[in-house]
């Protein structure tokens, strides 16, 4: 198995045959910003990487041999020339393989502006999803033209319902969660019950800040969300999120970036809480790194610290935590301090796989 680790300065691959011994490869795209590198589970060979540099514009690199060799997308994600709002994409922030029945389909989320893009040929050519980018409410729902999110306004967490390729969710930081049931032609906000403490209106319809949204693959009606303002669960067709983060220890709180799911148990999820007090350091709470797991859909949470450093002040970004399909499930996360940590026993114990990498933006299984 292979882990794809996207960093501020390149892409690293970590390989293992047994989840015990891991080898760290040489960097690919050295010096380039890799926001997200994602493998296609449908064909087992395609990998896409969202890249840019401090100077050059954004693009997508493609591999059809499991990350050995790469070629640039011949038409990277971009708004149309002559776009009605004169928009130009700064970063490809998020990549998601499309529906299993739509071979070669991919979605890309932009940051910023918060555009949505689709490819139908394995990531070689991309087009704007007009139903979103030109939706009459786009300028209202999105952070436009002002951006309030510290690292830029992002479109992330593109989620495709495995039962229906026309049913998608997306997350906007900031903006909230949005849903389409017609393949992306029309969209509606889905944020009831979610706090937005940064607005005077206590129950806005949109404008929230989901950091990561996940759908359980075995129970597609179940959504989890790690938000700027808490951890939530939603079981469709309900439309009001429940703040399951209220069940976290008060001293830890329920602020963080990632939330990751057990591939087979819909009640099991992992988060990595961060410090959201005072000036929002966004580092490990009290300088004591800990993952938290729930095995009952968020009713209770337990810390998982065995093997982690006693004191550390890193951040785990929203794409930088993932799980594998093993039994027991492997859980992995990367840190802003360039460390990769893994657990082969569902978080009961952690081991370090790599240190001294650049700031880690994404960790995904390949």
């Amino acid at each position: 198995m292979k882990l794809l680790v996207g960093t501020r300065k390149g892409l690293w691959s970590l390989s293992s045959d047994d989840r015990q011994g891991w080898s760290v490869g040489e960097p690919q795209f050295f010096g380039q910003i890799i926001q997200h590198a994602v493998a296609d589970p449908r064909d087992g060979r395609t990998v896409l990487a969202a890249t840019s540099t401090g100077h050059l514009g954004p693009t997508v690199m493609r591999s059809t041999d499991h990350g050995e060799t790469w070629a640039e997308a011949s038409k990277p994600p971009a708004f149309a020339a002559g776009d009605r709002l004169d928009r130009a994409l700064k970063t490809v922030f998020w990549l998601t393989p499309g529906h299993p029945d739509e071979s070669g389909s991919w979605y890309a989320g932009g940051a910023s502006p918060q555009g949505l893009f689709r490819s139908d040929d394995g990531g070689d050519t991309w087009d704007p999803v007009s139903g979103w980018n030109d939706h009459p409410m786009w300028e209202t729902w999105c952070e436009w033209p002002e951006e309030n999110t510290p690292d830029g306004s992002m479109l992330h967490s593109v989620i495709i319902d495995p039962r229906d390729s026309d049913h998608l969710y997306i997350g906007l930081s900031g903006g909230g969660v949005f849903e389409t049931t017609d393949g992306g032609s029309d969209w509606a906000p889905l944020n009831k019950g979610v706090a937005a403490d940064f607005f005077p209106d206590l129950a806005p319809e949109f404008g929230h800040d989901p950091h990561t949204v996940r759908m359980h693959p075995a129970m597609p009606d179940r959504l989890y969300q790690q938000n700027h303002c808490g951890i939530y669960r939603l079981d469709r067709p309900e439309t009001t999120w429940t703040r399951i983060g209220d069940n976290m220890p008060r001293s830890i709180g329920d602020i963080g970036f990632p939330i990751e799911l057990h591939p087979r148990q819909p009640d099991t999820a992992w988060v990595f809480p961060m410090d959201g007090t005072e000036v929002w350091p966004r580092t490990c709470v009290d300088g004591r790194p800990a993952a938290y797991v729930t095995r009952d859909g968020g009713a209770t949470w337990a810390p998982q610290t065995n093997g982690l450093p006693e004191r550390a002040w890193f951040t785990v970004k929203r794409q930088a935590m993932t799980t594998d399909a093993g039994d027991p499930v492997g859980v992995y996360f990367g840190t802003t301090s360039g460390e990769v940590w893994a657990s082969a026993d569902e978080g009961a114990s952690w081991t370090n796989l790599a240190r001294h990498l650049p700031e880690i933006y994404s960790v995904e299984m390949a």
Binding site: T53, G54, H55, L56, G57, T59, E72, S74, P76, A78, F79, A80, A81, G82, D83, D86, R87, A88, L89
Partner: protein
């Protein structure tokens, strides 16, 4: 109106097109060539020609609305230009550089 720029020293017939200096971050597109020839009567046309020769190179420096990206710089001779409709003469030399940025 500015006076037309003087032609740089050198033989105007020496080249077929304008010389374009390519910065290191873009040389993966030009097979590591640091100077390439391109044709066009404006900076934009030269960039279009560059993209025909080296597919994908121009989008890395010019966005989809035709604007030079924030941290990219283009010089025509010794003049920094951001207006890509700036006219060129065959004797001009175009230098693409990246601004000081990043970290």
């Amino acid at each position: 109106m500015d006076e037309p720029r003087p032609a740089p020293a050198g033989d105007l017939l020496r080249r077929d097109g304008v010389n374009v200096r390519i910065p290191t971050p873009l040389r993966s597109y030009t097979a590591q060539q640091s100077v390439v020839d391109a044709h066009g009567s404006t900076v934009a046309e030269v960039l279009d020609d560059l993209d025909r020769q080296f597919p994908g190179i121009t989008f890395r420096m010019v966005d989809e609305q035709g604007r030079l990206r924030k941290h990219m710089k283009i010089w025509v001779g010794e003049d920094a230009v951001r207006d890509l409709s700036t006219p060129l003469r065959e004797s001009d030399e175009v230098t693409i550089m990246q601004a000081l940025s990043g970290g």
